[in-house]
Symmetry: C2
């Protein structure tokens, strides 16, 4: 076992950070360590927290982290939102609270960019979850902004997905209709100190009434970071959802989904590296692009030509 792998399994924060950086930079050294830590994974509960900007996801994660810490659990937090306070991009008050959390030995916080040459986020995210899991984190909280592609990824990775709404946002229920409905394991109506909270909950309830044939009704939890309200109920609902997953055998199925998504991602990345490798196919690819630009070749035929060169 590599020295780094050993240190990660022992929970060393510096080593965790180092391997994450290697993974983010596509450092080939990371692969051997990633291989070795895999058999130490599978114990962490992965919670995805998604919702539009301004829904208070970060404060909610902060409160959840505090609650789980009080139970003695080790926490990993991954923020994939460039405007998240965890990424340092927010209000001073928030940042100070986050700093308090980050000096806690039982908490590891990492923010990740949403950018990547070839959809680089996803593969790094799978790796980071594996790393934190292997490092002994009991709970991994992942914050995503939850619009577009990211929300799909969170569902593939998380055991439990929280969809965070705020009262009076107007388009909140529209948004849910448009897609968040299917990914929510628990709805959180955050900032429940604001007016309109009853209406938002009522709208959600009537939407849930329309769902039939499900063996589980999605719970709605009202929370307020300001009034420190709702967090115990939320952690209960998360525990209940975990129990539901395990009883209904969907837990194993979700885990298998995550591994499938991770495997696809690694294969995709390897193939792309192969195709764009300077020494191998790059000149063919460049030549194709030139011909496509001049309309002498179309992209579909070009793809077939390139694939013909690499596939058995």
């Amino acid at each position: 076992m590599t020295n780094l792998a050993q240190k990660i399994i022992s929970g060393d924060h510096r080593s965790i950070a180092r391997l994450i950086t290697q993974v983010e930079n596509d450092d080939p050294d990371a692969v051997e360590t990633m291989r070795q830590i895999h058999r130490h994974t599978g114990k962490a509960t992965v919670i995805g927290v998604t919702g539009v900007m301004g829904s208070g996801k970060s404060s909610l994660i902060f409160e959840l982290a505090v609650a789980y810490r009080a139970e003695g659990k080790k926490i990993g937090i991954i923020a994939i939102d460039p405007t998240s306070p965890f990424s340092g991009g927010a209000l001073l008050g928030d940042r100070i609270r986050m700093t308090e959390l980050s000096t806690d030995e039982g908490v590891f916080i990492r923010s990740m960019g949403t950018r990547g040459m070839m959809g680089g986020l996803t593969s790094a995210l799978y790796d980071v979850v594996e790393i934190l899991d292997a490092a002994g984190m009991d709970i991994i909280l992942i914050e995503t902004v939850g619009v577009g592609q990211d929300e799909v990824d969170i569902v593939k990775i998380a055991d439990t997905t929280l969809v965070v709404l705020v009262p009076g946002l107007g388009d909140s229920v529209q948004t849910i209709k448009a897609g968040l409905m299917e990914i929510a394991d628990i709805f959180v109506v955050n900032k429940a100190d604001k007016p309109g909270v009853e209406q938002t909950i009522a709208e959600l309830e009537s939407m849930l009434d329309l769902q039939s044939g499900l063996d589980r009704r999605i719970p709605i939890v009202a929370t307020s970071a300001k009034e420190k309200k709702g967090i115990p109920l939320l952690t209960d609902k998360i525990t209940e959802h975990q129990a539901y997953l395990k009883n209904s055998k969907t837990f194993e199925q979700r885990r298998r989904q995550r591994y499938e998504a991770e495997l696809i991602e690694i294969i995709r990345k390897r193939l792309m590296e192969f195709i764009f490798d300077e020494k191998k196919l790059k000149s063919t690819v460049d030549c194709c692009i030139e011909q496509i630009s001049r309309k002498e070749l179309d992209p579909y035929t070009a793809a077939d030509q390139i694939l013909g060169k690499i596939l058995k």
Copy 2:
């Protein structure tokens, strides 16, 4: 040439819609038509419009479409935001205006989901742009919500990218710092009838002052759909940007980037189909996932095994 390809080149809306549906459904029949229309593409100006929810992107696109129609130009609109009025998910007033636009023979509107099995959006979007281009649209407007992965894609596809902000959103400038800065060709401060517009512009200006070494300063245009303000200036700035691209040779470079991204996307999709083809590798992949779940195998080694079976 296929019958469908011919009809698309003649600008027939039903045929355009049909090919887009084929493309979205991964219908193998689409490929031959896509091959044939490629040499008819490259004339349309592709404008990406990105910004957070509530920034009034749809109204702005509506006003731009009206302005370009007045010049006799043919317009294609692609909305990749599930909450966009173009997707039918918004306020009644907006919907009525959009309906007016959609009954105009010179306008083709299509909304697309952000979901896809394996990042399905991107490849379909490249295809839709090619289709609208081949069908003779002079201007193609693409609306994306602009957080996360989507914004990267828009930059790869668009000739000119508008980043839309609204006064008083507070975190607007934060958001720009976090990434939108690099993708903006033009900043639009929309809803300029609202208070705080001067401050937002001033913040943007001082941010732009910090940028050095650029041969072009990003213009800021204040617009208001309500007061019908700023649209002529915005279309001027778009024309100026197009001229800048062509003079500085970056136009060809951007187009080549788009083709490269499109080619990568097609290759990626083909490879994924190949790997998950029932008859070919699916049983190997399923077996690997099972072993990964049982910690007998790690994802990286599994990826190598699968790749070893398919690559020359």
